[in-house]
């Protein structure tokens, strides 16, 4: 029935038969090799990476640095440009507080987009408020894409940062981030890219794009929670001081910060999660990237046609009709998003509802919330059928009297 080449790699589905997990933009399930990596580390390898002399600690440190190299290669970066963080959220905050805030004065501005998740909006809003600088929010088009013309107008010589997502967490649309990078370059604006949603579906190369910063969260790309990545272009590393200070980031008696990316990693680090992230990346590299892309593309088309059948209930998809990532959000004129999600839960379908930490976009679209389904490589066409059957039953119930 549920044939999918990769599904069996994820033990979660054997443990949860009957569950349709369509909340992958929030977090993904983990393949066995990631779980094995965590298990192995805590069973046999656990030690702090404290530059100690004993073998186990040195081994843990080596593995952690190998993980850093794997992440660097995955993103097309140098190893020294990779900072391990807790999450995408922490990464954005580091850039805002340690790079941008130092330069920002009241005559400057920061440009963000209405597509941003709050984690790539609130840090900028906060430092702009602190410096009395202007925060400019680029509009989204009717189709739910980034309005590049508006972006070009909003970026000027007083802009110090443009913070832009690579892909929307609720519309499934990609931003033209390569074009954005060119515009930023023309104006000598530092570009911060949020790749949190993109990387589970597509590769990205920081060197090719020529961005200044890029961040992601491991748990959205089949890796454990608690680990994120911040890419910092080499030339910015020296001037940035750490946000968190503590153990492991100074050398000598005069408390000088170490010069590499480790200066952003104060305190005892989550080595297991780093290794788990490296395993997830290796997993994504081992499976056939083109096959996954094709599968997800086909799922997208299938979901798309499914939505046409529920239009009669007043269901309206948000944003671009040409969805690029398997992320879809919808509203129903006659039913509240929470009721739809609650009924879908009854049918064992896990979806997200609400404003999806993207209040900017929602207020621009004039809606309060929606239901989002987001698929991963292990989802199947059968599950899409189950979802639409359940959606139809739910909508019939909820709209029967309207």
């Amino acid at each position: 029935m549920m044939k999918n080449k990769w599904r069996n790699d994820f033990p979660f589905f054997a443990g949860n038969p009957g569950l349709v997990y369509f909340d992958n933009s929030a977090t993904t399930q983990k393949p066995q090799i990631v779980i094995d990596t965590l298990c192995r580390f805590y069973t046999d390898e656990n030690a702090p990476i404290s530059r100690s002399a004993y073998t186990l600690s040195r081994k843990a440190e080596q593995k952690s640095e190998t993980a850093r190299q794997i992440v660097a290669t995955f993103l097309g970066a140098k190893k020294g440009e990779i900072v391990f963080t807790k999450s995408a959220t922490e990464a954005a905050n580091i850039v805002a507080a340690t790079y941008a805030a130092r330069r920002l004065t009241s005559r400057h501005n920061i440009v963000v987009t209405a597509l941003e998740h709050n984690s790539n909006f609130l840090p900028w809003r906060q430092i702009c408020a602190g410096a009395r600088a202007e925060l400019r929010v680029v509009k989204i088009t009717q189709e739910g894409c980034l309005d590049l013309e508006d972006l070009e107008q909003k970026i000027d010589d007083q802009t110090i940062i443009a913070a832009v997502t690579c892909a929307s967490n609720f519309l499934g649309s990609k931003t033209e981030y390569e074009r954005v990078a060119e515009i930023c370059k023309q104006h000598r604006v530092s570009l911060v890219l949020d790749a949190a949603q993109l990387v589970a579906h597509q590769r990205i190369d920081v060197r090719h794009i020529n961005c200044d910063f890029l961040f992601l969260s491991g748990h959205k790309m089949y890796a454990p929670a608690g680990i994120g990545v911040l890419y910092v272009k080499e030339e910015h590393l020296v001037e940035m001081n750490p946000l968190l200070v503590g153990g492991g980031i100074v050398s000598g008696q005069d408390f000088c910060f170490v010069e590499n990316s480790a200066k952003f990693e104060a305190g005892t680090q989550d080595v297991a999660a780093r290794l788990g992230l490296a395993s997830a990346i290796q997993y994504l590299q081992q499976i056939n990237e083109n096959e996954v892309a094709e599968h997800e593309h086909n799922l997208c088309s299938y979901v798309h046609s499914g939505f046409q059948h529920v239009e009669k209930y007043g269901v309206k998809m948000l944003g671009n009709q040409v969805v690029e990532l398997p992320i879809f959000s919808f509203i129903c004129e006659k039913a509240h998003f929470f009721d739809i999600a609650a009924l879908l839960n009854h049918f064992q379908i896990a979806v997200r509802s609400g404003s999806l930490c993207a209040q900017n976009a929602f207020s621009q679209m004039g809606i309060e919330g929606c239901v989002r389904i987001s698929l991963g490589l292990y989802n199947t066409f059968d599950e899409v059928d189950i979802f639409f059957n359940a959606l139809e039953l739910s909508l019939r119930k909820l709209t029967a009297f309207s």
Binding site: A335, H336, F338, D339, A341, A342, L343, N345, H346, G354, E368, K397, L398, F401
Partner: protein, 127 residues
């Protein structure tokens, strides 16, 4: 004679399927009409779905009305209102709303909505 809440608990416990429970609350919400209470003074803050509750006293007895964007929340809120309606403030304060504890709506009701609904009792306690 069974009290309103006990009757409700009995009714819900007799339902075989969780969907019937949904139906019950949805029907209740639809029967509740559109009371004119969507005003900021009646709005319950901190509930992720809009929720409005008006508490009045008529001849020492409580009269509560509720409205919500969500049918499920509205149905549950109206059920809470029904339990308090007709009680004196003293009686209402001594009444604990327990009908939600009995069955598993936990998956559907996240923290903020539970919190929103429990604020109805919070209003009573402050009377």
């Amino acid at each position: 004679m069974l009290k309103t809440q006990q009757k409700l608990i009995k009714k819900l416990s007799q339902m075989e399927d969780e969907l019937d429970i949904f139906d019950y609350f949805i029907d209740k919400a639809l029967a509740g009409g559109k009371p004119d209470i969507r005003k900021s003074e009646y709005q319950i803050r901190g509930c992720a779905s809009g929720l409005w509750v008006k508490v009045e006293r008529k001849e020492d007895k409580l009269v509560l009305t509720a409205d919500s964007d969500s049918l499920l929340i509205k149905g549950i809120a109206l059920s809470i209102c029904e339990i308090y309606n007709g009680m004196t403030v003293k009686e209402a304060k001594a009444t604990k709303i327990t009908f939600l504890d009995g069955f598993d709506l936990a998956g559907e009701l996240n923290e903020s909505r539970r919190n929103g609904l429990s604020q109805i009792s919070g209003i009573i306690m402050k009377l």
